[in-house]
């Protein structure tokens, strides 16, 4: 298993380094591949961003704990892809016209408010950071399990972090894309191998019969407001679907903006719902684990690895570990790149050169990775608590993202800022204060408050200042070497 771990890290890092192109010496080349990636490449990037070590480990663990409620994940993914099918092509076009690199670029510019842009970037960075740490911890869990040594897991987390830092800095989004090709195929192959091994070892027909006899409650979404109940399922599907569909996850943006044409963006979101069917395999494996394994409290996420080690020969288990490593490293690299682009584009002083932005992006990717690694090793509880906020917090960016691609003027920057501040406060207070509201996902409650505050403040403060659309000003695109300025649009 140690050999498989070393081989896996070497293969993924090599693919990452091979992705480099000459154009990567520019900020656009590094962060969004110079908007020149094919439909197939961006498909793998998008699939790679969503299917992570959580899909690989956490889905089976969630099934062990909540049974069929784990189906909330494919349900919200399908809804999210519908939203991105509608929004993605417009975002791509606006991005090309106005030279956007992030959602904060778009929101800040479309509402003529640099402060709103910075606020969106800051919130996106804070709420998205835990995703990186979760991938690093997932990687350590897999290696510790595979080798049987906890120290091997810790060492692999450090080595993987350094490798991610090197290939993200060196090859940017194109490096991530090349590793995504490998990872997206390897993940499905590994899941199928584990499923076949489990079917051969445990015999399929007995699985559901065992579950029905011993854990029938896992086969229904229970009524009531408890965790994994109906209210939890419905509100989690709604808020996660809105979060993904309104492109509030920073990782959604590089893959969309990197496409070489808007049709490529549309086409990807037609096929992505089919790819979500892959998430059913870990759910089925979770039921295998319920009926055949004795799982201790807190070890639910290792259920799929236990099944694999019990039913597969060593060399196949090695392949599973390599695939699992890819499921952690590739999304972590993609997330780091997205966060670093937000920092370099929106959280730096205005007017800095493109060369300086590229440098800031590379340096901040290192800072983000090392911070995530440090917290993963020393304070895993801190990031685990923040992870609870991720989707609920990011979903509050949905109104600003969606309204940015319309030409409405009723809602203005002040309304969006007030709504964001109030709703994020509600999310943080209710999550850490453990305040439940009828069992609803707190993101739904906060989003309703967000919209009410946004409309009230906008009504009180007058229409928005929106930039002229290109045909209104008879001008071409603002210079690609700097962010568009309001002065450009009024000229």
């Amino acid at each position: 298993m140690i050999f498989a771990t070393v081989l896996g890290l070497a293969v993924i890092a090599t693919l990452g380094f091979l992705g480099r192109r000459r154009s990567l010496n520019t900020n656009s080349g590094w962060s969004i591949g110079d908007r020149g990636m094919s439909s197939l490449t961006t498909f793998f990037l998008q699939a790679g961003a969503i299917f992570t070590s959580f899909t690989f480990l956490g889905m089976s663990g969630l099934t062990v704990l909540g049974g069929v409620s784990a189906a909330y994940l494919p349900a919200y993914l399908v809804i999210g892809y519908i939203g991105m099918f509608l929004l993605g092509p417009i975002v791509w076009k606006l991005g090309k016209v106005f030279n956007y690199h992030t959602n904060a670029d778009m929101v800040g510019h479309q509402f003529s408010s640099p402060f709103l842009g910075r606020l969106v970037a800051f919130l996106a960075v804070v709420f998205f950071m835990p995703i990186v740490q979760v991938q690093i911890v997932g990687l350590g869990t897999m290696v510790s399990f595979g080798t049987g040594y906890k120290q091997a897991g810790t060492l692999s987390m450090i080595v993987a972090t350094v490798l991610i830092l090197l290939f993200v800095s060196w090859a940017g989004l194109r490096g991530v894309a090349l590793t995504a090709y490998f990872k997206d195929v390897a993940m499905v192959v590994a899941l199928v191998i584990i499923l076949i091994g489990s079917l051969a070892t445990y015999h399929a027909g007995d699985v559901m019969a065992d579950v029905m006899t011993n854990a029938e409650k896992l086969l229904v979404v229970s009524p009531g407001t408890q965790t994994y109940g109906i209210v939890w399922f419905v509100s989690s599907v709604i808020i996660s679907g809105i979060g993904l569909g309104a492109m509030t996850l920073p990782e959604s943006w590089p893959a969309v903006l990197a496409a070489n044409k808007s049709r490529a963006v549309s086409k990807n979101h037609i096929m992505l719902p089919l790819y979500t069917l892959a998430t059913f395999i870990p759910i089925v494996l979770g039921f295998f684990a319920v009926s055949h394994l004795q799982i201790n409290k807190g070890e639910e996420n290792s259920a799929i690895l236990t099944l694999a080690s019990d039913s597969l020969p060593g060399w196949l288990m090695g392949l599973v570990i390599i695939s699992g490593l890819a499921c952690a490293i590739v999304p972590a690299a993609h997330c780091v790149l997205a966060i670093a682009t937000l920092v370099s584009s929106n959280l730096t002083p205005t007017g800095i050169s493109e060369e300086r932005k590229l440098l800031v992006g590379r340096v901040s990717s290192g800072v983000i990775l090392l911070l995530s690694l440090g917290l993963a090793l020393s304070r895993p509880d801190l990031m685990a608590n923040l992870y609870l906020l991720t989707y609920a917090g990011l979903a509050q960016l949905a109104p600003s993202n969606v309204l940015s691609v319309t030409r409405q003027k009723f809602v203005n920057a002040r309304g969006l800022i007030a709504g964001l501040i109030v709703s994020e406060t509600v999310v943080i207070v209710c999550t850490f204060g453990k305040i439940g509201i009828f069992g609803l996902n707190i993101g739904v409650v906060a989003l309703v408050i967000n919209i009410i505050v946004m409309l009230a403040v906008s009504a009180a403060t007058g229409p928005a200042v929106r930039p002229a659309w290109p045909q209104d000003r008879g001008a071409a695109r603002p210079s690609a070497t700097r962010a568009p300025l309001i002065a450009d649009l009024e000229a």
């Binding site: 189906a71 399908v78 892809y81 979404v221 719902p273 089919l274 059913f280």
Partner: protein, 48 residues
């Protein structure tokens, strides 16, 4: 585009369909998996 309301509503309201949210077994699997999987395929067809 109104056709997109169907999969969204069906997926959000999954637990409220009594013939889906039941401990029965279809081909050895919970019916919810067939329901969500079926709507994933239907969504691809509608988007196409």
């Amino acid at each position: 585009h109104l056709a997109l309301i169907l999969p969204i509503a069906a997926l959000v309201l999954t637990p409220f369909f009594p013939f889906i949210n039941t401990p029965a077994s279809m081909l050895g699997l919970p019916p919810i998996l067939f329901w969500v999987g079926g709507w994933a395929i239907a969504t691809t067809l509608i988007l196409s």
